[in-house]
């Protein structure tokens, strides 16, 4: 019955090789990509995990015992959780105020508030450490002005910096939730006589609750993973991410650094599971059919005024931070010696660091976009087992704390066969695989728009797989490729937490240089370098916006540095 059809024409071995490759190229690519992901993502993470259990005498739990015995260690966990929780709570309130006003508030306020809330996206998170030190530090502008004796190197400082840094994340998610609530529900409640307080309490917040929870969890994860702010402002207070760095640079204790990393991953994993499995699909989509544009109604003063006070205060801090950084790059010391100088801007070390960063970021962007595009294609069009696992792997770099991957890279690539430590490649690869997610997602969403029939049509017209890939798929996916490229470029420019483990003395990146100068109190240099980074990132963002307008794909809706 089963008759195997035999091709009557003998076309020789070259034809059969080509036919084989043509038929299986997707799977061949998939195999290669699996290998690459395994080496550059799974292996470093596994190395950290192993290192936390594996001492000089083999398998041991001593490091974990040590962690939970010495208060210096376990307090860093407790502090980190406190930092995460307090930032989360504050940002839930502040983000809600911003989102409420920009979605339901007075028309004239909406746009400026939105811009202010999103402004921190244009800068690395640790910009706020520098600005807060400039404003409230021992020699701070405001401290001097009002004769405060306020210490910014404290809990307050760290929390404030974190809140400002992650304001956009919280704002975007909450605004999205509030926008998805049907205004006529709130109107119905008002129609039945509910006051605005009552509506917020019993309609808006309960309906938004699942979305708010998701926003809160994400803020929590991003905050505890953040390295720069607690490292610069933490003073003597131990936090997990900076301590991991100290463990390696100060003590050379890779085992303990691994333990700290694993402890830092745990909450991330818990929240990832919550986010993806428990909360998945939860939420109220209350807009059914066409959303009715409703008559704008005034928010009552009892709500408007407190909300405005909160948003104005926070907004003012955001704007002042940017101003102070800009001014700080051109004067000797803000508020102390306001003479105009160009020293900070033309500083050779700073410019070398910027130059290095651009070089690394361009390379990371280029390779990241290639790997991301290929992954997206293979995941969408391949028919092999484990596509879902591959997608998870590709996205994991984004979810895991940068310090952990940084530690993983120095442990994993310190020895042959993968001896990369000390080279520029370890930094590039690290950034490629950490920021892969956006390129992959951009590619996947682009491929969703392309009918598989287009590829079949090309094959029908005589194209083999490589021709289809280069002449049809790549051109169509080009916008996704560029989006992945620029996004990786931007995040690499700003990234600190991972690369700080990987740079060698004498090869500074901009972010590392900013961190080091901020630590030394060289605020002018730190500010000037930050301004340059912001300038470069802003150009990238502008290009992304143009792409988004042309193609409908918006990557600026994602955050993570």
């Amino acid at each position: 019955m089963t008759e195997v059809a035999i091709n009557p024409v003998n076309r020789g071995w070259w034809y059969s090789v080509r036919a084989y490759v043509n038929k299986n190229l997707v799977n061949i690519f998939a195999g290669g990509l699996f290998l690459v992901l395994a080496i550059f993502l799974v292996y470093p993470i596994a190395a950290v995990l192993i290192k936390s259990f594996w001492g000089d005498d083999g398998l041991t739990f001593d490091f974990y015992r040590e962690f939970f015995t010495y208060n210096f260690y376990y307090w860093s966990l407790i502090n980190t959780l406190i930092l995460g929780l307090s930032t989360m709570v504050i940002l839930l309130v502040v983000g809600f105020c911003f989102a409420y006003l920009t979605t339901r508030g007075p028309e004239w306020l909406r746009k400026p508030l939105k811009i202010v809330a999103l402004l921190p996206l244009a800068a690395p998170p640790y910009i706020f450490s520098i600005s807060l030190i400039t404003l409230f530090g021992r020699n701070g502008f405001i401290n001097n002005l009002f004769n405060f004796d306020f210490n910014i190197y404290s809990w307050v400082g760290v929390i404030a910096a974190q809140c400002l840094a992650f304001l956009p994340l919280s704002y975007m998610m909450i605004e999205n939730v509030l926008n998805s609530l049907n205004p006529s529900i709130e109107e119905t409640a008002a129609d039945m006589g509910a006051t605005e307080y009552k509506i917020i309490r019993s309609i808006t917040i309960p309906l938004a609750a699942p979305g708010l929870l998701k926003a809160a969890l994400l803020v929590f994860v991003m905050t505890i993973a953040e390295f720069g702010n607690p490292a610069i402002l933490g003073g003597r207070t131990p936090f997990l991410a900076p301590d991991t760095y100290l463990m390696i640079t100060g003590e050379g204790d890779f085992n303990m650094a691994s333990v700290l990393s694993v402890i830092l991953i745990l909450p991330c994993v818990v929240i990832f599971v919550l986010h993806n499995y428990v909360l998945k699909g939860k939420g109220y989509a209350t807009i059914v059919g066409k959303a009715t544009p409703t008559e704008k109604k005034e928010i009552i003063p009892g709500i408007k005024i407190p909300f405005m006070i909160i948003t104005f205060a926070v907004g003012l801090l955001v704007v002042m931070s940017f101003v102070v950084i800009l001014v700080g790059s051109f004067v000797k010391i803000v508020g102390v010696d306001n003479t105009f100088v160009m020293d900070h801007i033309v500083n050779t070390q700073s410019n070398t660091a910027i130059y290095n960063s651009i070089k690394v970021s361009l390379a990371a962007g280029f390779f990241g976009a290639i790997v991301g595009t290929l992954l997206a294609y293979v995941i969408m069009r391949g028919k092999f087992f484990g596509r879902h696992a591959m997608e998870m792997m590709a996205l994991s770099g984004f979810a895991l704390p940068g310090t952990v991957i940084g530690v993983g890279y120095i442990i994993a690539f310190n020895n042959p066969p993968f001896l990369l430590t000390g080279t520029i490649w370890i930094i590039i690869l690290n950034c490629v695989f950490r920021f892969l997610a956006v390129g992959v997602e951009a590619g996947i969403s682009k491929l969703h728009q392309i009918s598989i029939e287009i590829e079949e049509a090309s094959a029908d017209l005589g194209a083999d797989f490589l021709t289809i890939f280069f002449r049809i798929i790549l051109p169509i996916m080009f916008s996704a490729f560029i989006a992945g490229f620029i996004y990786t470029f931007m995040t690499t420019m700003m990234s600190l937490s991972s690369v700080i483990f990987l740079v060698t003395p004498g090869f500074d990146l901009a972010s590392v240089y900013i961190y080091l100068t901020a630590q030394l109190g060289e605020l002018g240099l730190a500010s000037a370098t930050t301004v340059k980074v912001i300038f470069i990132v802003a150009i990238g963002m502008g290009i992304l916006k143009i792409i988004a307008r042309k193609t409908g794909f918006d990557v600026s809706k994602k955050q993570g540095a």
Partner: protein
């Protein structure tokens, strides 16, 4: 069909399973050169799968596809001389009309002048002269359809495959494009397979139809054969309305082609050359509404009919539609309406005349 040439395309016992589900259960058929054959059937019948097997996009589980005498079963789409127009048209969004049409030619490494000449011919063929530089999103759905057709025809395939090409167009345009496709097909005489789920589309465009259901060929035949001589109840009900009467062969006079049939509603006679039906067989009499006619009952005249009562009469100008109750059955009759022709009202008793050439089927 007198001069038997070898067919352009032959399908030999094609089977296809997806996992445990067998979607094609042994399809064999052939298409003559220049013929337009339609694969038609309800959704899920396997018609698109069969087309994709012909095009090389889906491998058959077993069976062979023979194109112009050559077994192409194992060739990938790009090595087959069949070209497909996809349901979504699958035009390349980053190329203009000309580049889309030229795509296959550039892969074949045609020279620039040859390509330009060919593309111009194709644009003329599909009436798109002067629109070559347009971008794909700057032309209408019907024009996109034309470009897809031109792109497939540019390479001069031996067989053209059309996968529900009209399903994305609105109703009026569908009729226009249907006629257009048929005209182009006849003009260049290309052997074509057309897939659709729309019976009327299939009837009006095809030389022959291949009706599929549950992965089995129900009937292959010309539109007239499908309509007038359906091979089974499914086909009978597939196009248009059909009345079906249960009956039994009483007697087939020796050597004659007259069947005496008894039904629960009365005895009738039908002339047929069917050899596979004999005395005692349970059969179905299949009659279209327009083949029936109504008469006033007249005992003096022996007519080939059965008695019934008019339930409803719908006057629609050129014809009248009657619903006539015969026993427990409602029979639909379309009566032509010349001026002053007799009309019947609710509750009138009528004689329902069965044409002697009515189609009969063996009951399954």
């Amino acid at each position: 069909m007198e001069n038997r040439r070898s067919p352009m395309l032959e399908l030999v016992d094609i089977h296809k399973s997806f996992g445990d589900v067998e979607v094609l259960k042994g399809i064999s058929s052939s298409i003559e050169k220049g013929e337009l054959l339609t694969f038609v059937g309800p959704s899920g019948c396997g018609k698109t799968t069969l087309l994709r097997i012909v095009g090389g996009f889906t491998p058959a589980t077993s069976g062979r596809v023979i194109l112009d005498g050559q077994d192409i079963s194992s060739l990938p789409p790009n090595m087959r001389n069949t070209k497909m127009v996809f349901q979504s048209y699958a035009l390349f969004p980053h190329m203009n009309v000309r580049k889309n049409i030229a795509f296959g030619l550039t892969l074949k490494k045609w020279s620039k002048t040859e390509i330009n000449k060919r593309v111009d011919e194709m644009l003329e063929l599909v009436h798109m002269e002067g629109l070559g530089e347009r971008h794909i999103d700057q032309i209408s759905g019907g024009q996109q359809q034309r470009v897809a057709l031109a792109r497939a025809l540019a390479l001069g395939p031996k067989v053209l495959l059309l996968d529900e090409p009209l399903s994305n167009l609105d109703a009026n345009l569908r009729v226009v494009m249907r006629e257009e496709i048929r005209k182009i097909q006849e003009q260049i005489g290309i052997t074509t397979i057309f897939v659709t789920h729309d019976q009327y589309e299939a009837m009006s465009i095809s030389d022959r139809l291949l009706v599929l259901k549950d992965g089995v060929i129900q009937q292959i035949g010309s539109p007239v054969e499908i309509y007038e001589k359906p091979a089974n109840e499914f086909i009978a009900g597939f196009v248009g309305y059909v009345n079906i009467l249960n009956g039994k062969i009483n007697e087939r006079a020796n050597g004659s082609n007259t069947f005496k049939i008894s039904t629960t509603y009365g005895d009738i006679e039908i002339d047929s050359e069917r050899e596979d039906i004999g005395d005692g067989d349970e059969i179905l009499v299949v009659v279209r509404p327009e083949s029936l006619s109504l008469k006033k009952p007249n005992s003096a005249q022996k007519l080939n009919g059965i008695k019934g009562t008019v339930l409803t009469h719908m006057y629609a100008g050129n014809h009248s539609k009657y619903s006539v109750k015969v026993g427990d059955k409602n029979i639909v009759v379309d009566q032509h309406n010349p001026k002053d022709s007799p009309r019947y009202q609710h509750n009138d008793t009528v004689e329902l005349l069965i044409p002697r050439n009515a189609h009969i089927l063996k009951r399954q």
